[in-house]
């Protein structure tokens, strides 16, 4: 067996015998890293493994994290399928850096397309090994044997049966993934049937334990002093009053000032008694001036896509239309704030962390808290939502540092105000588009400049002969200092919500200018068959009636691609005189390749509709002088039950494309579909997200 190194040690922790299949989600290495501090090298030749234990249970160890997206369920499902065992006999162990092999992180809709195929192959491999053993045991050729619920039988002989458990008993067999074919789609028994979620029982009974639910004996709750504005430096600190709080302990080491108490609320109270002075930060943009500021501070743009010749495109155009579209910052606002619980034992620290990327956090703790890699274990079993906002984990470094200093277990939980203030926001963006078309409505020119959002899916998928798209700055870092007044990072379908808003708003502007129905105009300019199919599927379910906008009906559409998944979204709205937009219904047609778990995909898509309502209509990050002004949910309006529209998700069957992720693609077109619907309702074009009641009212005049 080749290069096991680090992982051999991890592997040794898995006690007992059984059959092990090691595998490497090769493509997982190609995952686009989010803004992750301190990546570590892929340590070995596998990054996941599967074990059939002597008790007949199947365990699969992967470094991904269950964030609510249902990865635990999908992985169990495909294993049950390939191994012919009961779904309930499969356990998926996730997010533990000691038990699970390295994984870069859970983001980018990559689990389904990259990990699932390999897990399936590993299951097929294990089944083939077990069948060969059974053939020997039963004295029958392997291809004659049948498997059901983990029991192998020889149909030619009665009373011939041997279970997987019996086959591996007393043995330790280790295999690397070979090229065993997986089951053809037509033979699926489990896949496609949406079994009960693996996490269901723990979540409805309150037994699911998140990072803050670890309460080791002697636990201290720490509250860390933080600057009131981004970029502010501490000038002085006085902890005398805090120290007087009964049971409170103050730690002041270098940059770190924290108060600790055995009760979390009393730690809060003690922190409030710490007096500190910070310097004033230089003038910073606010949510109104940010767009000008971005244009001024953006780096040199990079060409993302180009074709034809812009001058010729200009000549071929009967009309040329310019538009500028703006998208403000967005907060992730998961219901669970950033949390970590650190426990020291024999010089080793174990940290339960709310994170999407336990291995990156491990590295962060190694460097930030001064541990050797083998002294740090990160566990992310259940996480209360991530959406891209939980890739870094400063709170884990603080908890580990404080556990080391105090010798006690330490828990750090961000307040809601901390969560808003230190969020790596979705970057604000400016999209400038200049386009042209013929009198017949053929798009002849597309010249787009994207600032801030990043270049993912920035290239238009319409058939446009003369085009160029350039992009400057993004969520992945590399922005010049001072471009953003705080950290930015990935936010569910990074880049693509903003880029789709700009492109699809502009397409509707063109359709309206040319007097075309928005659907007709899109179809006329598309050659991509998958896009045409989702648009037609959405139109059929929505009962789209062709008309040019504005038609006073309040209907709108938009479409987009994310990570090779296709989305067409249609919405119907009513706009009040007060500027309130009520979304009555949303239809999303999705092509995400083969659908492994239709129920799971619908859950994700419904969630995307709700989160999409937020970024489109209500979630506005306000800031000034480096301070984020939204401090709690009364100042950052999330969608609620009363915002719930009728939701209809159409899964467009596409067996020719491998299964793709579904946690992000459904959200991308919500902003533009709603802007277009508002235009249809009112004749007013909203060019800035979020379209809050104040913005809409101002547009209505």
């Amino acid at each position: 067996m080749a290069a096991m190194d680090l992982s051999r040690r991890d592997f040794a922790r898995v006690a007992g015998g059984g059959l092990f299949v090691f595998f490497h989600a090769e493509a997982a290495r190609a995952q686009e890293p989010a803004q992750i501090p301190g990546r570590v090298a892929v340590p070995s030749d596998f990054n996941a493994f599967l074990r059939i234990g002597e008790d007949g249970r199947v365990q699969c160890f992967v470094g991904k994290v269950e964030l609510g997206q249902g990865a635990m369920t999908s992985l169990a499902e495909v294993l049950a399928e390939e191994l012919d065992v009961a779904y309930d006999a499969v356990d998926v162990v996730m997010g533990d850096t000691d038990l699970c092999p390295y994984d870069m992180g859970t983001f980018g809709s990559m689990t389904t397309p990259l990990l699932v195929p390999v897990v399936r192959r590993a299951g097929a491999e294990a089944r083939a090994v077990l069948l060969a053993m059974a053939a020997e045991r039963l004295g029958a050729p392997a291809d004659r044997l049948r498997v059901k619920n983990g029991v192998v039988t020889d149909p030619a002989r009665t009373n011939s049966a041997v279970s997987y458990a019996a086959l591996v008993e007393g043995k330790r067999i280790e295999r690397h993934l070979a090229n065993i074919p997986v089951k053809p789609v037509t033979q699926f028994q489990v896949i496609g049937h949406s079994p009960r979620r693996k996490d269901a029982l723990e979540k409805v009974t309150g037994k699911a334990r998140y990072a803050g639910d670890q309460l080791p004996a002697g636990l201290l709750h720490a509250r860390v002093l933080r600057p009131p504005a981004h970029g502010a430096k501490r000038l002085s600190v006085d902890t005398a009053e805090a120290e007087k709080v009964k049971g409170a302990r103050v730690v002041h080491e270098g940059d770190l000032v924290a108060v600790l108490h055995e009760r979390p609320d009393l730690a809060d109270a003690a922190l409030a008694k710490v007096k500190a002075e910070f310097d004033a930060v230089p003038a910073q943009p606010d949510e109104k001036t940010i767009f000008e500021h971005l244009l001024k501070t953006a780096p040199e743009p990079r060409v993302v896509a180009q074709g034809g010749d812009l001058a010729q495109g200009e000549k071929a155009s009967a009309s040329v239309i310019e538009g500028t579209y703006l998208h403000g910052y967005g907060a992730h606002a998961p219901m669970e704030t950033h949390t970590a619980t650190a426990v020291m034992e024999n010089g080793k620290v174990t940290v339960w962390v709310s994170t999407q990327a336990p291995f990156s956090v491990k590295n962060q703790v190694v460097r930030g808290a001064g541990f050797a890699p083998e002294q740090v274990r990160i566990i992310a079993r259940y996480v209360g939502g991530g959406f891209g906002g939980k890739t870094g984990a400063d709170q884990a470094v603080d908890a580990a540092r404080l556990a080391k200093i105090t010798g006690s277990p330490v828990q750090v939980v961000w307040s809601r105000a901390d969560e808003f203030h230190h969020d790596p926001f979705r970057p604000a963006a400016v999209l400038k588009i200049r386009s042209g078309m013929t009198a017949e409505g053929a798009i002849t020119l597309w010249d787009a400049k994207i600032v801030g959002s990043g270049e993912r899916e920035a290239k238009p998928f319409y058939a446009i002969p003369h085009q160029r798209t350039v992009s400057a700055g993004g969520w992945q870092g590399g922005n010049p200092p001072g471009m953003h007044p705080f950290n930015v990072g990935p936010w569910r379908a990074p880049s693509v919500n903003s880029n789709t808003f700009g492109r699809e708003s502009h397409i509707d502007v063109m359709a309206a200018r040319g007097g075309f129905d928005p659907l007709e105009f899109r179809l006329k300019n598309l050659t991509d068959e998958r896009m045409k199919r989702v648009l037609q599927a959405a139109a059929e379910r929505f009962a789209w009636q062709p008309a040019k906008a504005p038609g006073g009906r309040g209907v709108g559409m938009a479409c987009g691609i994310y990570a090779n998944s296709y989305n067409a979204t249609m919405a119907e709205v009513a706009v009040g005189k007060d500027g309130r937009v009520r979304v009555k219904r949303v239809v999303i047609a999705l092509d995400v390749g083969v659908v492994l778990n239709p129920e799971g995909l619908r859950q994700q898509a419904e969630g995307c509709v709700m989160m999409g309502l937020g970024y489109a209509l209500s979630e506005e990050v306000r800031f000034q002088g480096g301070k984020v002004l939204n401090r709690n949910f009364d100042e950052y309006e999330l969608p609620r039950f009363s915002s719930l529209p009728a939701i209809d998700i159409v899964l467009v069957d596409n067996p020719r494309t491998n299964a793709l992720g579904g946690g992000e693609p459904p959200i991308i077109a919500m902003g533009a579909a709603l802007a277009n619907a508002i235009f249809d309702a009112t004749g007013k074009r909203l060019v800035e997200l979020p379209m809050t009641p104040a913005h809409v009212k101002a547009a209505l005049g």
């Binding site: 009960r196 309150g206 219901m335 307040s415 419904e606 709700m610 709690n632």
Partner: protein
């Protein structure tokens, strides 16, 4: 003020000696180790910390301990027993959760609604649930689950 506060928690008598101005959420989570009740905002704005006090859904993050003296308190740990409560079963059947962080608060808010209004209309469900936030966007399923639980009969722990 530090004093002994007695109440019934999930059917059992408990007595906690602490500053009775402290919020119930922290007493439940930290002093009593019942972590099913979640912290989300700390200011009564999200519903993650919802528990049922004397039949009404309350925000435990904004309820001082002294307010529950002599009362009955129900948390997610006290709901159902050997079998799931009808509301838990309905949440499970509808997959009315994703990350699950808001789920205990949702279930207890729904429980209190059905105690008072066993057969709520959709509008009543939305009104009762409207201040419970779910970032994962499971709203449509939660409404469906509550409708199922209401149809299945009366609520009772």
């Amino acid at each position: 003020m530090e004093r002994a506060v007695s109440f019934r928690l999930n059917g059992k008598a408990v007595r906690v000696t602490t500053d009775d101005e402290r919020m119930l959420l922290w007493v439940l989570r930290s002093d009593l180790g019942l972590t099913g009740t979640k912290f989300g905002c700390g200011e009564g704005l999200c519903g993650a910390c919802t528990v049922v006090v004397g039949g009404a859904a309350v925000r435990s993050c904004s309820t001082p301990l002294k307010d529950v003296a002599g009362k009955t308190v129900l948390t997610i740990e006290g709901l159902g027993g050997a079998r799931l409560h009808a509301i838990q079963q309905a949440f499970l059947d509808h997959n009315a959760f994703q990350c699950g962080y808001c789920t205990p608060g949702m279930i207890l808010t729904a429980y209190a609604l059905l105690e008072k209004t066993p057969h709520p209309t959709r509008e009543q469900i939305i009104a009762a649930m409207d201040d419970n936030l779910c970032r994962c966007g499971t709203h449509v399923r939660i409404v469906g689950a509550i409708e199922q639980a209401a149809g299945a009969g009366k609520a009772g722990a």
